[in-house]
Amino acid sequence: MRSNLNFFSDQKFRSLFYQTLVVGLFALGIYYLTITTSYNLEKRNIATGWSFLNNPAGFDISFSPFLDFKSTDTHLKVYYVGVLNTLLVSFTGCIAATILGFFVGIIRLSPNWLLSKTAYVYVEFCRNIPLILQIILWYSILLQMPRIKQAIEIFHGFFITNRGLYSPKPVYESGFSTVFFFIVIGIVASIWISKWSKKRQEKTGKRFPVLWVSLGLIILLPLIVFYIAGSPMSFNYPVLKGFNFKGGMVIRPEFIAMFLALSIYTGAFISETVRSGILSVTKGQREASAAIGLKPSWIMRLIIIPQALRVIVPPLTSQYLNLTKNSSLGIAVGYADLVHGFGGISLNQTGQAIECMVITMATYLAISLIISFFMNLYNRSIQFKEK
């Protein structure tokens, strides 16, 4: 008894004991929930298992830009389409939100009163109104665009309607692969040139017009090749035929509404993050760089932003995660994302709510962890390196 007491008064043992106890209770709780659920499902004759994934879906999906989906395809394919649509709106949304956020964050600190107040109003307006209302607002506005029969042609082959923005679709003919090859060469060469010029500048102080040379390599060179190869590309123009436009490409209002709402909403948060990052760089840095004669745009790009990034990136990661998870609100306007298709229609048609929800949740978790992983890598690369 006495030795036992001694054992327990050992701090190491005690902490180990409580930690084991907590983990054990947690595992027991999970175990309890699992068997309770399976017991209940069985009792209520609700089908379980994963075989439904290979059954034909039987319904159609409104928006599947990457995969060709037919109603005879399986629920598993519904899942793939949903994941791709979720990734599409999240990825484009994150990029747009970042650009918007950096832009607004910087102009909020501008000495120009009108600019900074406009940015202030945008930030306070957008981050204080629930996202779902903003999504519905954008969608309602887009529904007020001209009806399909009254489509406005803004440019040859470009139409605005409330069923989406139609544009000509490029059709690649044989010989275009050469052009594509030169685009790739241009990109690789530009990367090499940028590295080479940086090294040269560090050594000799001489600068090289990297931007112009890169643009020439990536755009001008393939363009010349394009004409030499005899313009191996044509356009498929959208034509109003029957009920809808046939041919061309279309961006649906559901996607546009989600994209606008997500990037504008998240952009407001990111701009605050950017602003705090910039303010975290001490005033002396700015004054010192001005003293050595750098021009204002260089001060921002070379001195302020690199130091601000250390403060900006961790909360930026959170904003990317938020945006990705918020994309699940697509259901409000019928955007065919993961929750709408697989977590909604498939769930409902098969009745296997637990399976569909587990898969959907696991997918969001996986996407979030992947984003975190890459953002953490990036974060590590921009931290101060002790030299």
Binding site: F243, N244, G334, G344, G351
Partner: protein
């Protein structure tokens, strides 16, 4: 350990699941009934906030049968998607939400349909200005559908069978689908014909919309309960049957009292004057009397909610009694 836990789990659920729903409802003092989020004629709150509609009347009939008071109902709104989990979890006792009776729902989802209170079929509605007269003319059209229903499966089947193309736009609720249709985001709206009539009645000018003649599916809509509680299933089934049988014998809210001294034996059995049919259901013997007195027979409910004199103006059609050319038929009260 595992055994102990299993016993624990079983005992916990033995308490909640094995106690009959009828006893639960009686002890609670009111019925929990799941209805739509608002479909005029079937379940929608009126100007003073009271729920009315054909489906609502089924809930009220069950409350009248159990409590002798048709007002003892708490309505829970459910979407096409949430309705089944809501019923399965026991949050409601009964789902009366124009739900189509299908094999997989009856068997795979673990529910029991107790009858049919409206025979429906899926149709299409288009703007009159589109000049479309047949559903087969809809090649290439954009179709608004409410998700989570049998309609989207029927729709895919119909277009596949006729080898015509379409773009589906699945939308979460009927209201949003209606907004999309009215804004011209889609050319066609498809749902059960009754739902189309309801949607048309809600537009600013019903003449601008036309329901196409094709009915592409069988949609027997009926109330359902959880599978396995047969006593409760019987109560709901016979509450609905009572309304249909009452129409057959022309017993109405107005004349139910004078029918207490009828010379037709089945009428006396229905009204509980003879026989102990209520007791067999563990209800009072005047349960059918209460249903008819407080809710009315099927015809009264129909004419009040969806019939020709309402904005929905749906003719009886298949929903007439079998003696009047429809297929409405209830087993005898004996």
């Amino acid at each position: 350990m595992k055994k102990l836990l299993s016993i624990l789990v079983v005992s916990v659920f033995a308490i909640s699941a094995n106690a009959g729903t009828l006893d639960d409802v009686k002890n609670r003092g009111f019925l929990k009934c799941g209805v739509t989020t608002g479909l005029a004629g079937f379940a929608a709150p009126d100007d003073s906030g009271n729920w009315t509609g054909l489906d609502v009347d089924v809930c009220r009939a069950v409350a009248a049968a159990v409590f002798g008071d048709s007002s003892k109902v708490e309505f829970t709104t459910t979407t096409g998607k949430s309705r089944f989990p809501t019923l399965a979890s026991g949050e409601i006792d009964l789902l009366a939400r124009n739900t189509t009776w299908t094999l997989s729902r009856d068997v795979n989802l673990g529910f029991e349909f107790v009858g049919v209170n409206f025979y429906d079929g899926q149709g299409f509605m288009v703007p009159t200005s589109l000049g479309v007269s047949n559903a087969t003319d809809l090649d290439g059209a954009t179709v608004c559908i409410q998700t989570g229903t049998t309609t989207e499966l029927n729709l895919a089947d119909f277009f596949r069978a006729n080898s015509i193309s379409y773009e589906a736009l699945p939308i979460e609720t009927n209201d949003e689908a209606r907004e999309n249709l009215f804004a011209g985001r889609c050319d066609v709206f498809t749902t059960d014909a009754s739902g189309l009539s309801s949607t048309r009645a809600q537009s600013d000018n019903p003449k601008k919309w036309v329901v196409l003649p094709e009915i592409i599916s069988k949609e027997p809509l009926g109330p359902l309960v959880r599978h396995g509680d047969h006593q409760w299933g019987d109560v709901v089934r016979w509450s609905l049957n009572t309304m249909i049988i009452a129409e057959e014998f022309n017993i109405t809210t107005a004349n139910v009292d004078s029918n207490m001294s009828s010379n037709i034996p089945e009428v006396l059995r229905i009204l509980g004057v003879e026989g102990g049919y209520g007791e067999m259901l563990e209800l009072s013997n005047d349960f059918a009397y209460n249903i008819i007195k407080q809710v009315g027979n099927y015809s009264e409910s129909y004419e009040r909610n969806v019939g020709p004199d309402t904005p929905l103006a749906i003719a009886r059609g298949l929903n007439a009694l079998w003696t009047d050319g429809g297929i409405l038929y209830a087993p005898p009260f004996r």
